[in-house]
């Protein structure tokens, strides 16, 4: 059987696939390979005629990029149809058997297109030896292109002249069709696309306000949310109450309320970096009472700065304008495994008893070093 679990007797339920209980698990499945979604049939069966065991394997196969490129040369009118009969062979819903292409279809495709491949040093796929396919008109059924079968696949653009070019060439600024029709009507609206204000860039409507800037001036991500005064917009423009911002737990569906509020180590004086935490859109110092080495390890690791090389408890600087905001170590901080430093700190009504704040320096993790292996130093260019 192809899959790891075989439906027992190919019916309901499933048993572990044991070589001894060979079931003929042949079955039809709907075609999902985008390249062949416009065939006159929509059920297929695996393995196919190129040795692929699943549509997933066909999707990433090199034949699935070779054939669409070859179709552009116009070497044979029904090449795409023939390629799909190999990639996603027709499955007869009654017999559950594959229906092969006819030998003449295979011979025509090979005779007209094999030499084109030779020019670029490629061989015709050797799995598709034509003698394995039946002659049309014999007692075995086989496939021939019917009238009206589409010469281009859904991954192509059809030129005015009938040629097929890859869809990525449509309006790419280079004429690819022999009649240049791939560069006609390239306005955004003519292609049901949205034009970025102030530029000629066209984007799909689905890209507007999706959290990823696509237009040159990022206008596709502007004015996408209408949050209340006490809310902040997520990257995907949902609104979250500002008190939930940077509290070490995800509230935005894209987690962006926890992205840029990492515990900021700001260089405050010679002795190192005073730890400040950004929470509900304000900056807090961390009271040194109850601080532990494990929290220093967490802080440096969370910032991707390696490990703490020195930790000190600095007296608060008197006379700095504005009220000091303090965060304290949560009494049960060690029970909150897997969460960020922010989730292990809490606000308290009183100020910091010791009036000392945490300051630490992290030793950046060694990265990008190659050991001088084999006893001899890395070769230097002469």
């Amino acid at each position: 059987c192809i899959s790891t679990s075989c439906p027992s007797a190919c019916g309901g339920g499933s048993a572990a696939c044991d070589p001894r209980n060979y079931n003929n698990c042949t079955h039809c499945e709907p075609i999902s390979l985008e390249l062949c979604m416009n065939l006159p049939y929509n059920q297929t069966s695996y393995p196919n005629y190129l040795g692929h065991l699943s549509q997933r394997e066909s999707t990433v196969s090199w034949e699935s990029s070779l054939f669409p490129a070859l179709v552009q040369t116009g070497c044979y009118q029904y090449l795409m149809f023939y390629a799909c009969t190999l990639l996603v062979p027709k499955c007869d819903p009654l017999t559950l058997q594959r229906v092969p292409p006819c030998r003449s279809l295979c011979r025509n495709a090979k005779a007209k297109c094999e030499s084109v491949l030779g020019i670029v040093g490629l061989q015709w796929p050797d799995d598709s030896d034509c003698s394995q396919f039946p002659e049309e008109g014999g007692n075995a059924t086989c496939l021939l292109p019917e009238a009206g079968v589409d010469e281009c696949s859904p991954s192509h653009f059809k030129c005015g002249s009938g040629r097929c070019v890859l869809a990525t060439k449509r309006c790419d600024g280079h004429p690819d069709c022999d009649d240049h029709s791939d560069e006609d009507n390239c306005g955004c609206s003519e292609r049901a696309l949205w034009e970025c204000p102030g530029s000629k860039v066209c984007i799909k409507a689905a890209m507007i306000c999706d959290g990823f800037p696509d237009c040159p001036l990022l206008v596709d991500e502007a004015n996408c949310s209408a949050c209340g005064d006490n809310e902040l917009p997520c990257n995907n423009h949902r609104c979250v109450h500002r008190t939930l911002w940077c509290d070490g737990k995800k509230h935005c569906s894209d987690s962006s309320d926890e992205w840029d509020c990492g515990t900021t180590l700001s260089l405050s004086d010679r002795s190192g970096s005073v730890l400040t935490v950004f929470r509900t859109a304000a900056e807090y110092q961390v009271c040194a009472d109850e601080w532990t080495h494990a929290l220093s390890l967490l802080t440096c690791g969370q910032l991707g700065l390696g490990v703490p090389s020195s930790v000190s408890m600095l007296p608060d600087q008197p006379g700095i304008p504005g009220r000091r905001r303090w965060l304290h170590v949560h009494p049960e901080w060690h029970l909150r495994n897997g969460s960020a430093l922010q989730a292990r700190l809490e606000k308290r009504s009183h100020a910091c008893h010791s009036r000392r704040r945490v300051s630490l320096i992290c030793a950046r993790e060694e990265c990008g070093l190659r050991p001088a292996v084999g006893g001899y130093p890395h070769r230097k260019k002469r």
């Binding site: 985008e34 997933r56 999707t59 990433v60 090199w62 070779l66 490129a69 670029v120 040093g121 490629l122 991954s155 890859l166 869809a167 990525t168 060439k169 790419d172 280079h174 690819d176 990823f212 070490g248 737990k249 995800k250 987690s255 926890e258 992205w259 990492g262 969370q302 991707g304 909150r336 897997g338 969460s339 960020a340 430093l341 989730a343 993790e365 060694e366 990265c367 990008g368 070093l369 190659r370 050991p371 292996v373 084999g374 890395h378």
Partner: protein, 224 residues
């Protein structure tokens, strides 16, 4: 890797091999849209056939494919793979700082166990490639668009290039002080064992540094 050579044991401590089922090494690749439990990540490896004492394998806890990954034009071709536990034998490579790009015509290295043009190797291969500017690169590929998420490297004649089985693998450049930075992930190119000319195309890691750091932070520190 076409036109490369066998690498010394341990020379590229960040290289891994993604393996699935009985088929062994598949690539450093990214046809990772499938479920995580299909994959085993093997580290500390040089010779696929004689793994050696430093070999470590890990299963995959999660695979984060870039939400904008586009298979048709191979854009945003990057995933973050979270292992089920730490490893001791992996030497981390440096991530580029935002905006930090390798300069055109500088030389960098690609590595992998992919196709060599005539066979698949057992020993990790390395090849030195030259960074190619975007405009020059676009001239090689009229069939596809080179986007800012892509980086080109190699040679006009394709003499040294990555190939099937190398995808997802690293393109690294040496910086001042002997540090190596990951600027590219093997992504796509012309059919590498044909006479079709052209360089290889890599995911431009600099474009994704912030996204990578976000994913690491979210999946390490944010309680679900």
């Amino acid at each position: 890797i076409l036109g490369g050579r066998v690498s010394r044991r341990g020379a590229w401590p960040w290289q891994c091999s993604l393996q699935s089922g009985q088929s062994g090494h598949v690539c450093g690749c990214r046809t990772l849209r499938e479920s995580a439990d299909l994959w085993t990540v093997v580290l500390g490896l040089n010779n696929l056939d004689h793994p050696g004492v430093h070999r470590q394998s890990r299963t995959v806890r999660s695979i984060i494919v870039h939400p904008r990954y586009n298979r048709a034009v191979v854009d945003y071709d990057i995933s973050v793979v979270q292992l089920d536990s730490e490893t001791d034998f992996v030497g981390p490579v440096c991530l580029p700082e935002p905006g930090q790009l390798p300069s055109p015509d500088s030389y960098c290295y690609i590595t992998g166990w992919g196709h060599m043009g005539n066979r698949m190797p057992f020993k990790l291969q390395e090849g030195e490639v030259r960074i190619i500017s975007m405009s020059q690169c676009q001239s090689y590929f009229d069939m596809k668009t080179i986007t800012p998420r892509m980086l080109c490297a190699g040679y006009e004649a394709g003499t040294v290039d990555s190939c099937m089985g190398d995808s997802g693998g690293p393109l690294v450049c040496e910086e001042v002080g002997g540090r190596w930075t990951l600027f590219g992930l093997t992504s796509w190119g012309s059919v590498c064992f044909s006479k079709v000319l052209g360089p290889g195309v890599y995911s431009n890691v600099t474009h994704f540094t912030a996204w990578i750091r976000q994913q690491i932070y979210i999946h390490t520190y944010l309680s679900d």
